[in-house]
Amino acid sequence: MDDRIADHSTDQSDPADLPRLPFERSNPLDVPEMYRTLRTTAGDPGPHPGG
């Protein structure tokens, strides 16, 4: 497991720092807030052509 991370050329994150699944949600009708955080911080591919 650690080898896979160490070998990875694009990411040298400390495994302990990585978010761990499953993410908690406050209400079963909602999705975990962490997903919103990740969507807005994990790169922006730009708006969808279909709007």
Binding site: T10, P19, R20
Partner: protein, 362 residues
């Protein structure tokens, strides 16, 4: 695209954005099998989606062969033809529910029996066996007891193998009779049949429950639907977009290096596509947490997947959900939860999630 630790403690790439999720679904270099299955990252203890499945060399051909065999049985045309009968089943179940004094458990009275009835008739499975195969389906989704889940999966496959043997002797006008004559091994057909029986009802039950809860939590949307039934199709798509009963993603493994969303995924690495997150991507769905049946999103949501892996039962699920949401609130306009929503008990140890009961009154 983000690196995460899975429930099993291994590393995976999490796909949380809409466009990246579509790319991941559509890329043939991402599959359910892993190049080195013994060293592949584990996702969880689930027997269904906990790790890799199948063989890298044969997966694509096997998947295409399976779809060729099954697509005609689940075609949109055939499912539309099923619509009037589904409506009869909906009306019958609601008639019986209306005869009971409230509060009634909606899950027990309606949202569970409807998809079970439909899938039994479509596949040719005896409805009288429902308690037996429902028990197995429940056990298969157990995230806390892998041994129990594995045994249930094997038992359900044994059950479908027996039914298929019966269909060979006495064929009928149903999907299992068609499958019984497929050019494949008995084990393969039985496993496929068990998958259809399981997936053909389990997920729809929860979509009905979540749809009802979304409507009850947003009375203006419920009232709009009652006033204008032509909004039903859009309401169903919005329910599918927002209903997220299981807090899990769909695993894939890179068969070679792949770039998704500008990130290089190395051969053998795991990818988890989270459709519940993609369906709330604010770049595609403005104010994504607002339940709005007036959105004009067509069939853009990703709850059924995308491209070659698009859910084979999507048309069936839509036929059922449209019938349910055309009828339920017209028939029970004062339908309400009989307990505060926070008192509903989640099926937390279940892969497919949902609630144990939905007590309602009217």
């Amino acid at each position: 695209m983000t690196r995460v630790r899975t429930q099993a403690g291994d590393f995976a790439w999490l796909v949380s954005g809409y466009e990246e999720a579509r790319q991941a679904f559509a890329d043939p270099r991402l599959g359910r099998s892993a190049p080195d299955p013994d060293r592949a990252p584990r996702i969880s203890d689930s027997v269904l989606i906990g790790g890799p499945r199948g063989d890298v060399e044969t997966e694509k051909a096997e998947h295409e062969r399976m779809r060729r065999m099954l697509v005609p049985a689940f075609s949109a045309r055939r499912m539309s033809a099923l619509g009037p009968h589904v409506q009869e089943l909906v009306d019958g179940l609601l008639d019986r529910m209306a005869e009971q004094p409230p509060p009634v458990d909606l899950r027990e009275a309606f949202s569970l029996p409807l998809p079970v009835l439909v899938i039994c008739e479509l596949l040719g499975v005896p409805y009288d066996d429902r308690a037996y195969f429902r028990k197995l389906a429940d056990a298969m989704t157990d995230l806390a007891d892998r041994e129990r889940a594995g045994a249930a999966k094997a038992e359900l496959t044994g059950y479908t193998r027996e039914i298929l043997a019966g269909k060979r002797a006495n064929p009928a006008d149903d999907v299992f009779s068609d499958m019984a004559t497929m050019d494949a091994s008995d084990d393969e057909i039985a496993s496929l049949a068990a998958g259809l029986l399981f997936a053909g009802h389990e997920t729809t039950v929860n979509r009905i429950d979540y749809g009802v809860l979304l409507m009850l939590s947003n009375p203006s949307q419920r009232d709009a639907l009652i006033a204008d039934p032509s909004l039903t199709d859009a309401a169903v798509e919005e329910i599918l977009r927002m209903a997220a009963p299981g807090n899990h993603g769909l695993p894939r493994y890179a068969h070679e290096d792949v770039i998704i969303g500008g990130v290089t995924i190395r051969r053998g690495e795991a990818v988890i596509i989270v459709t519940m997150s993609a369906n709330r991507d604010e770049r595609i769905f403005p104010e994504p947490d607002r339940f709005d049946i007036g959105r004009r999103i067509g069939e853009q949501q990703l709850s059924f997947g995308y491209a070659a892996r698009y859910c084979i039962g999507a048309s069936l699920a839509r036929v059922e959900l449209r019938s349910v949401f055309t009828t339920l609130f017209r028939r029970f306009p004062t339908l309400a939860l009989a307990v505060p929503v926070e008192e509903l008990v989640e099926r937390e140890a279940s892969l497919t999630g949902g609630f144990t009961r939905i007590p309602v009154t009217w």
